[in-house]
Symmetry: C3
């Protein structure tokens, strides 16, 4: 029934999980993948997503997916609802095929520039899952085999019925209007303590006339790069993730200096 999509001798499957690296759970998933699709090249995006943190996984995927060939299978397992009624889904787009729980983890990718959803299905066909599906490890028993079968060319229609109304997390889509005070939110804090905001370069009219306020700290314009400010000073700049605005401390941690956390507000205003 399922027509073959394509035949890449060494298809790419990326993995993003909150499994950490102590227990070998990701190792079990890779065994499943290589048993089903021996030619697969399995690449880690991250296994260090904080436990059950769907927003963090959404960001990591958003940050990386567009650098992969469009036929890449991106498998995400951050799944606080495992074993409940939440759907397991596969979503085919013009920029990659996404496999994981339907809990909003694909929300940021689905809002990215130029992305189009071509097809989405609910994973119900047991033929493409392990024979015994556990109640607590769908990464190994459902998502890994699904990713591997897609990678070896099984069409999405074979996995189950169409899925509509995918869960979307609430992310803003840019500023409401230029020229007035506005609130931005921190959507990710990275390993270096850099803060990634939910606004991007196109939300800023004039880089020299914008200011950012976090508590009592003010940044008076947009810099080009770290070296534009003295050591340990704050700066804002157009970051490397889809042109989102970031706030950093040169050779230091903005998260630490400012004591902020995910979701905190940064005031953005334009003078003039």
């Amino acid at each position: 029934m399922a027509a073959k999509l394509r035949r890449d001798p060494s298809p790419i499957i990326t993995l993003t999980t909150d499994f950490g690296q102590h227990d070998g759970y990701v190792g079990a998933m890779q065994g499943v993948i290589l048993s089903i699709c021996p030619g697969a090249r399995v690449v880690t995006l991250s296994h260090e997503i904080p436990p059950q943190d769907v927003h963090a996984a959404a960001f990591v995927l958003y940050q990386a997916f567009s650098y992969y060939p469009p036929y890449t299978v991106h498998c995400v397992v951050v799944d606080p609802g495992v074993g409940s009624k939440r759907r397991a889904v596969a979503v085919r787009t013009n920029q990659g095929i996404f496999v994981g729980p339907d809990n909003g983890v694909f929300s940021l990718v689905m809002k990215a520039d130029g992305i189009n959803i071509l097809e989405a299905v609910t994973l119900t066909n047991p033929d493409y899952q392990l024979p015994a599906v556990s109640a607590t490890f769908h990464g190994r028993d459902i998502f890994a085999p699904t990713a591997a079968h897609i990678a070896r060319g099984v069409a999405l229609a074979g996995f189950g019925p169409s899925a509509i109304n995918l869960v979307r997390l609430d992310y803003r889509t840019g500023r409401t209007g230029a020229g007035q005070p506005d609130e931005s939110r921190i959507i990710h804090i990275d390993h270096f303590g850099n803060l990634i905001l939910d606004i991007s370069a196109r939300d800023i009219e004039d880089p020299e006339q914008v200011r950012f306020e976090i508590d009592d700290q003010v940044i008076h314009s947009l810099s080009y790069t770290f070296a534009d400010v003295p050591d340990q000073h704050l700066l804002a700049y157009v970051g490397s993730t889809q042109n989102h605005i970031e706030i950093a401390v040169r050779n230091g941690s903005a998260a630490h200096k400012l004591g902020v956390k995910l979701g905190d507000v940064v005031k953005v205003s334009e003078i003039g």
Copy 2:
């Protein structure tokens, strides 16, 4: 002398170590492997085994090995006795070939359902080791080259004499009898704080009539999955590792809530 076992153009070698990821030690091992067996696909099970923790490595391997093709080479380097008289061994089974120090790290795998040891050797032949073997890094100088030579088809007999009486760690093999109070022990605490016990589903007669006690906390039956209990509540369930019983907190950490550690006792009793 050593007959060829098989010729897989891209054999799988898994690695499990306590080397961490700061120093590049695993990177050196991979260089050795790829120099000897350029087609090898090297997969990480874990490099985050706590230093010298042979029990943790035994669990990780046990949790993952059965998901790999039977000709996979599993190389484990958690080796507190490196440089001493402990043997270095390779063990061929019907479910994988295991390479590492003879310190009990393969104990749980060797007790798994359906596993049969077909052959075991002591690694003494210097032809299959690096020219200069250091006193402290046998992972790179002995185990990585051994795994790579096995992966490219060298038979075990070529590596050294038969090894008998492999070291076994003391793990129980199930309950002594149903219907009476019994003690179970925690054999692993995972990244999520879930507790994996040394008993499995087949040790429980009636999932509705079993109770678990840890200090003053009682769990009154076996649940199916996390979603069966309210947020932050304790549950016990048949886990995803070889049907072992696990204790968890929904969206939380059982290890943290209960303040337990590896080896601690959980009382198991059946009512009626």
Copy 3:
């Protein structure tokens, strides 16, 4: 213009970064590499270099590079000067091709026994970089594509003009003279708390007549391996990294026991 160097269907590219594994930044780099050079085998040396710690990266690379085939591309991105005037370079040697910022990160490799620099260039040709180079993520936009293009056979001359006077960090090259008191420095502290010194076996005349002093602790000779001393005792020995002398505690952490840090002095003296 750029002649092809060679054509390996599955060339090896190693990665060493301070990106950690939370954000997927390394995942983006791997997507870039696999898009340009689909056959590349990407191997991690470490992504856990402490942020901006060029010395730690220099050691990791030094520890691992010589175990790789000589045509391996080693890509290092620990880059506190990203976006400033620091050069981006590629250096071809008889023991590997090195790609990264010109900040001294290749200093230890360039001092290794038997290494010869054959060619070095500054990475200025935008044809081998991503179309839009960000100001803050040259790992993804410059170094990953460079490594991938080299791996697929583009000659170094194509990337830009010759680079001379590469930055070298200040590492000593051995003892000034045997028989007199001398100072050694700690150049790396590894995951186990072992201390790697800047002197090597060839700097020691007689292993039985050498003593090491750190604060009030004295080690009276060179041991062969951990098992030569009682549990939790200090020892010095010829380590596994290019024969450098190491100081360790058997089944413990020398760094913790001695309270030392990178760069601290160890006194070395020979009696007799």
